[in-house]
Structure formats: C-alpha cells, structure tokens
C-alpha cells in the first residue's frame, strides 16, 4: 500500500517539474507511472487542479491510452507483438503457448503476481519476429523455446 503523504509529495514535485511544458499531461502521467508503476486514483485531484481540468478529463486521458495503468502490474511485464509481420512468423502460436504456460489471457497477471502478459502492436522488430519485450528488454525471433526461457528467467 502506498503511503498517501509520500505520494502527494512526489506528485507535487512531478507537477512542479512539468509546469512550463506546453501540453504537459502525458509527460506528467508518464512520470507518475514511472514513479509508482501505475497511476494511483488518489493522484487525480492534484493533477486536475494543477492543470485546471476536471478529474473526469484526466481520467478520460488515462483510460484512452493503452500504456497507462490504473492498478499495479505483476512484478514483470511480458509484451508480445501481435501485429502482422510477427504473425507471418508464427506470433499467434507463440502467444497461445505463452498464455497456456502462464495460465492467463491478454492483460492478465499470473496468480503468484510474477508476470503480466500484454499484447503490443509492433516493436519495430518486423524483420526478426516474433518480437517480445520483457521489462523493457527487447527480444527478437521469440519462439516457444525462447518464451519458456524468458518465463523461467522472470520467475526465478
């Protein structure tokens, strides 16, 4: 559980650091998510007040973008590309294998809280698909064997 006063202090710092940007909301949301791993509901009133928006408007922006989370992810995030170039190299099969192994669907988190599985539409690795990203690390030619290795690695 996040400490409420710690959160509001950090959010105040983040808001101050972005005060002079034109159109600062996305950079602010990225910074908050980088800090806490998600965007706590408790931060919305402060963001809204600083930018002269309603809480609903801030919520509307958060919910529009796939990147922003309203709840924490698992300890590791495994993203698998679902786009066409990776499909041509068997991405659907690899994704089904990962879902089966982890026992989760897209956006799901394993029961032990270790891994969240996310779809991604293109990592720009289209000539070495299927592509994956584990906690920000890029992986090309990610077949079933590689997926098993990645899952074993993050669960270790």
């Amino acid at each position: 559980m996040l400490d409420v006063s710690m959160v509001s202090d950090r959010v105040a710092d983040i808001l101050a650091a972005h005060r002079d940007l034109e159109g600062p909301l996305l950079p602010i949301l990225h910074a908050i998510q980088a800090e806490f791993g998600y965007i706590p509901q408790s931060t919305l009133p402060g963001i809204a007040k600083a930018l002269n928006l309603s809480k609903a408007e801030v919520h509307g922006v958060i919910s529009f973008y796939h990147d922003f989370r309203e709840a924490p992810a698992g300890r590791h995030v495994l993203k698998l590309c679902r786009a066409e170039a990776c499909q041509a190299m068997g991405a659907d099969r690899v994704a089904a294998h990962a879902q089966g192994t982890l026992g989760v669907d897209w956006h799901g988190t394993t029961e032990d809280g270790a891994v969240t599985l996310e779809p991604v539409f293109c990592l720009g690795l289209c000539a070495c698909g299927p592509a994956a990203m584990v906690d920000g690390r890029l992986v090309g030619r990610c077949d079933e064997v590689e997926i098993d290795a990645l899952i074993a690695e993050v669960r270790a």
């Binding site: 940007l21 034109e22 159109g23 600062p24 909301l25 996305l26 950079p27 949301l29 990225h30 930018l51 509307g60 922006v61 529009f64 973008y65 796939h66 990147d67 922003f68 786009a83 066409e84 170039a85 990776c86 499909q87 041509a88 190299m89 991604v120 539409f121 293109c122 990592l123 720009g124 690795l125 289209c126 000539a127 070495c128 698909g129 592509a131 990203m133 920000g136 890029l138 992986v139 090309g140 030619r141």
Partner: protein
C-alpha cells in the same frame, strides 16, 4: 582496434548488448586496446548482430555474431567463420541508393564530428543563408512527398505554414511509427538522429516556426534515448537554441513520448495527444497547417520526410528529383519484413516492382515455402497476390491496384497464411485502436469482426454484407484508420476467395 557494434533495437533484440559486453571482456582479458562504437544498423537484419572491424582494407563485417564468435575477432580475421568481407561490397549494400540513410550504420549516431565529416550540416548551412520562400521552393522542386503514408507534397504543406500569420508556429515530427512492417523511422532516429534534427531546423527556417516536437512512440525506448541525447548535444553545440548556427533565428526541439495508441500516428490525433488530450481525431478543416498544435500553424511531417530534407539542400532539389518514377520522386526506404529470408531496410529509388523486392531482394520466404501474399503499407494496406508482382513501387501505381504504399513496409506471408484470419485481424485491430469519434470506424470494425466470423462459420450470405460494410467504412470514416481498414479486408476477400469459402460442415 576499432569495432562497430550496433545499438539499433533490432540488433539489440538479437543480442548486440551482450556481444558488446563480450568484446569488452575479451579485450580486457587479452589486455588489448579496443574502441567499441555503438552505431546504427546497416539494415541487414538477418546478419544482426553485425559487427564491423576497421582494417586497412576498410570495414570488415562479421555476422550474425554470437558471444562464442568473439575471441576470433582478436585472431586472424580472414579465417573467422562469420567473416562477410567489406560491408560496403555486400550485394544488399551495393544495390541501394542511400540518400536519407546515407550515414545510418556508418557513423557514431551521437558524434556531431562524425556527422559533419559525412556531409551533415552542409544542407543547413545553405538553408540558413536562404530566405524562407526560397527554402520552400527548393523542397517543392525536389518533389518530396510525405513519407508517412499520405504522400502529400511536403513543399505545399510548408508553404501554407510559412504564409500563415501567427504569434507562434510549430514543427511536429510524427515519429509514432505504429504500422507493422515499418521501422525506418526507428532506424533513422537510432542511427542518425542529427539528420532529423537538421531537417526540422530547416523546416523551422522555412516556416518561421521556433519550436519543434518529436512525438515518439513509447514502444521505441532506444530511439527515445538517442534522440534525447542528440538534442542535448545539438543544444550544447549551438545547433539548437537561441540562434541556429549562431546566425539564424531561434529553434529548439522537445522529445515527447506517446502512450501506446496506434491512432496517434494520424496527425490530428497526434496533435491532441501532444496537447495532453485523448488522442481523438479532429475533423478537417481546419488544416493543422493553419490551426494545429494549440491552434497555431503547424507542420506535421513524418520522420523520413524531414530526414530527407538535409540531402535535398546538400545536393540540390534537381539531384533528388532525378530518382524515381512518375510523381513518386526520390528514394524510398523499403522495409522488408515478415516471413522473408533477407529482411531489413533497403533504400532505393521508386520504381522497383513488387516481385523485384519480394523474390529478388528479400529472397522469398524464410520458411522456404511459396509466397502467398504481401501486405504493403502496414495494417491498413492491401494484401497483394503474386499476380500483382509486376506493380512498380510508387504512390499512384499502388493506388491503382486498390492498395497503398503507406510508409513503405512490406510484410511477406507464406502459403500457410489464412487470409480470412488476416481480414478478421484487420477489423479486430481497427476495433481495438479506434479513437471512437466516428461511427463507421467505432461500430463498423466491431461488426466487421462479427461478419467475418459468420463467414468463417460457412455463412456465405455474410460476404456481401462485409463488402457493403467496407464501402461504408471507406467513405464514411474521418481518418485512415476506419477509412483504410477495408483495404486489407477487401483485398483478402477479392484475391483469396477460396479462404472465405468455408463449408458449414467443415466449420462445425
């Protein structure tokens, strides 16, 4: 000893970071002096990680490298099992006309000295001495068209912004390269970021804009890091800031990061996102050129459009225009992807046929099976069968085949592809990524998935319904997401009808 090891995302995804660490460790073990330069990729992704060692005979390539191949780099290079010879002499490199990508893979992307030594800034030095109308005229004369996909003449867009009267104007670089099979923007930003910066500064000089944004998708962490560092270096060198090159007007660039919404690659949606709003598409008019970012006149150009500007000024509009065919002038960085033997980036003048690219350059399918279809132009592009392999690569030529070249990405599929499944995916993708503003896209895509599912269950009566839905989406959507999703769907249906002829028994 000087060794180049790419920092490019594709090379990193195939182990370049581990390789760089292995080279450094081996050098320490042998007590050898080694300078490791992290360069961009040469674009031969099947050879990545491609390591280059500088020798008196030039830069010799080794790839695809694994850590086990590293000790051999410190022995007799001629007998190294991964030796490829001089990189410049490889057929993939010799066949290209590298104008926009001239420096990518060659220089240290974060060395301004390297950049200038390879011709960088000479275009800007010419432009800074010209008046804005002359800069616009030069870009117009080059025949450069928007490389993001729409193909709108860049010079005309710049002219509109240049002639608009406002207290502030903006240059926005669209680096939200979300189309599958495209990675040219990423490679350019990772491998030669100063070219993009130089192009944006020239756009600023041409239009009177003093502020630029590069909106990079969050899926590109390496490109974000390199661009941020390049902007910092450019500022320190006086390239960006209060006075461009010490004599020009002010111009600065800010890097912004997207948040995983495909539709933000559409220019008006991107502008809303940049302003901190939901990435919802705006109706046009007003054109962004007149009322763009924060309601001010704004140039929104793709990375490759802007990065092609420096070479146009360095070598002249006539030089650039001399390449190409018809109304498609200059060069285009083809991105060859999917199921291919040789995938990567290949910059060449417009005009190669689809067959030249797929059967020739790409060498057919990686799986060794026959090519069934090629999707050109990303998720909103058509699937082309072999019977269209004689189509020359150009904007009008592909439009004439009910397709588009888009951002010039090609995804190759072998004969195991199920085109009904691909059509379903196109609709599903549109449904997931729709911004929700217009009904044909928001509702149409959902109904499209359902209709394809009916066809998959053997309901042939749903085929005319799908066709009808595509007509509505094509003519009734606000932007290319809903408007172009019918391209992959209808091309799959038209060219591969057998995949849609499911019998009820087989489906059950």
């Amino acid at each position: 000893m000087k060794i180049y090891i790419p920092l490019d995302s594709a090379a990193v995804a195939l182990g370049a970071d581990a390789l760089a660490a292995a080279v450094a460790a081996e050098a320490r073990r042998l007590d050898r002096e080694v300078e490791i330069i992290r360069n961009g990729s040469r674009g031969m992704v099947w050879l990545e990680p491609l390591v280059e060692v500088v020798t008196p005979q030039g830069r010799i390539g080794f790839g695809p490298m694994t850590p086990a191949d590293v000790p051999g780099l410190f022995a007799d290079l001629a007998v190294h099992p991964k030796a490829l010879g001089p990189v410049e002499e490889l057929p993939w490199m010799k066949g290209q006309t590298r104008l926009t990508f001239a420096r990518v893979g060659i220089i240290d992307p974060l060395s301004l000295a390297d950049y200038e030594a390879e011709g960088g800034l000479s275009g800007l030095r010419k432009a800074v001495a010209m008046d804005p109308a002359a800069i616009v005229a030069e870009v117009t004369a080059s025949g450069l068209r928007g490389r993001g996909g729409a193909g709108f003449p860049t010079g005309i867009k710049w002219k509109t912004v240049s002639e608009a009267v406002a207290d502030r104007k903006y240059i926005v670089c669209n680096a939200d390269e979300g189309d599958s099979a495209t990675f040219a923007d990423r490679m350019l930003m990772e491998g030669d970021p100063f070219t993009l910066i130089e192009g944006m500064i020239i756009a600023g000089l041409a239009t009177g804009a003093t502020k630029g944004f590069v909106y990079i998708r969050s899926e590109y962490p390496v490109a974000i890091r390199v661009m941020e560092e390049a902007c910092r270096l450019a500022r320190a060198a006086g390239l960006l800031g209060g006075s461009v090159l010490g004599s020009g007007p002010a111009f600065d660039i800010e890097i912004r990061v997207g948040a995983g919404a495909y539709v933000c690659g559409e220019e008006t949606s991107l502008l809303n996102s940049l302003e901190g709003k939901r990435g919802v598409v705006r109706a046009k008019p007003p054109l962004p050129a007149l009322e763009g970012f924060l309601g001010r006149p704004t140039v929104v150009n793709n990375v490759i459009s802007l990065a092609s500007v420096p070479v146009i000024f360095e070598k002249g509009a006539a030089f650039y225009k001399d390449f190409g065919l018809g109304r498609s002038r200059g060069t285009i960085p083809l991105q060859i992807a999917g199921n291919v033997r040789f995938g990567g980036l290949y910059e060449v003048a417009f005009g190669l046929t689809l067959g030249d690219i797929v059967d020739g350059i790409a060498g057919g399918c990686a799986t060794g099976r026959p090519v069934k279809a090629v999707q050109v132009g990303g998720p909103l592009g058509a699937y082309h069968p072999r019977s269209e392999f004689d189509t020359p690569f150009g904007y009008e030529e592909f439009a004439g085949k009910d397709g588009l070249i888009g951002h010039a990405g090609l995804t190759v599929f072998d004969d195991s592809a199920d085109m009904l499944k691909q059509a379903r995916f196109a609709m599903e993708f549109c449904a997931i990524e729709s911004c929700g503003k217009c009904t044909p896209c928001r509702i149409g895509a959902v109904r499209g998935v359902e209709t394809v599912d009916r066809i998959a269950k053997g309901d042939a009566a749903a085929i005319p319904l799908l066709t009808d839905l595509c007509v509505t989406m094509k003519s009734g959507s606000l932007c290319a997401l809903g408007g172009f999703t019918p391209y992959p769907v209808m091309s799959a249906l038209t060219h591969f009808p057998d995949d849609f002829a499911r019998s009820k028994e087989a489906a059950e």
